[in-house]
């Protein structure tokens, strides 16, 4: 996957929808099984141990994803992947590819794009990462 795959559109997508690596993990979990309806507990259970995230943080991430038009929810608060447009779907595929082929670059990109490097300073003091 070449550097050009990290296009301006993809970076913009990351900046708006993916504030953290855990958010990326959550989205990719949903993306990989698009037919399944997930509960929050399902997601928290299946997220990789390294990217563990608190329930409230996960709620915030998912809310961001929903407002970006990436996931939908039903009446019982279960969630499912649904991209609002083909362009968005393409960005998520790029994300999945980047996650497989260039994970280190992807992680650095996500953190570099966060508005607040300052917040990273404070976040450094969390024992459990991301």
């Amino acid at each position: 996957m070449e550097d050009s795959a990290f296009s301006k559109e993809f970076l913009a997508f990351l900046r708006t929808a993916i504030p953290s690596v855990s958010a990326a993990e959550l989205l990719l979990l949903l993306f990989r099984q698009p037919v399944r309806w997930w509960t929050l507990d399902d997601l928290l259970r299946e997220i990789p141990a390294g990217a563990s995230i608190s329930q409230s943080d996960a709620g915030n991430c998912l809310e961001t994803l929903r407002s970006c038009g990436l996931i939908e929810s039903d009446t019982e608060k279960r969630l499912r992947y649904r991209a609002a447009s083909a362009a968005l779907d393409e960005q998520v595929r790029t994300l999945a590819r980047a996650y497989e082929e260039r994970p280190v670059t992807l992680i650095r990109m996500i953190y570099a794009l966060r508005d607040s490097r300052i917040q990273s300073f404070a976040d450094a003091f969390k024992f459990r990462k991301r």
């Binding site: 900046r15 708006t16 504030p19 409230s56 943080d57 915030n60 961001t64 966060r114 508005d115 607040s116 300052i118 917040q119 300073f121 404070a122 003091f125 969390k126 024992f127 459990r128």
Partner: protein, 92 residues
Amino acid sequence: MIEFLSGAVTLAYLIAAVFFLRFWRKTSDRLFLAFTIAFVLFATNQGLAHVLDIYSEPASFIYALRVIGFVLILAAIIDKNFFAGRRQPDKR
């Protein structure tokens, strides 16, 4: 030389504290408030230790300032890991 260094360190702590204060205002993260106060305490400790010509800290009450500073930092770290609930959403 000691005077120079002592003054420089005092000022450096103070300037860092001002930055931490700014970061706290920007992010509302309590950790920065703790660091602000802690660094002000370190600055005061350093300044007073020199001005009052106190060589051996433990013999004086001044070291309480440092202690409180470090306790604050520890408390902030513990607070962040065990008590902080929602994080503020990123301002975009």
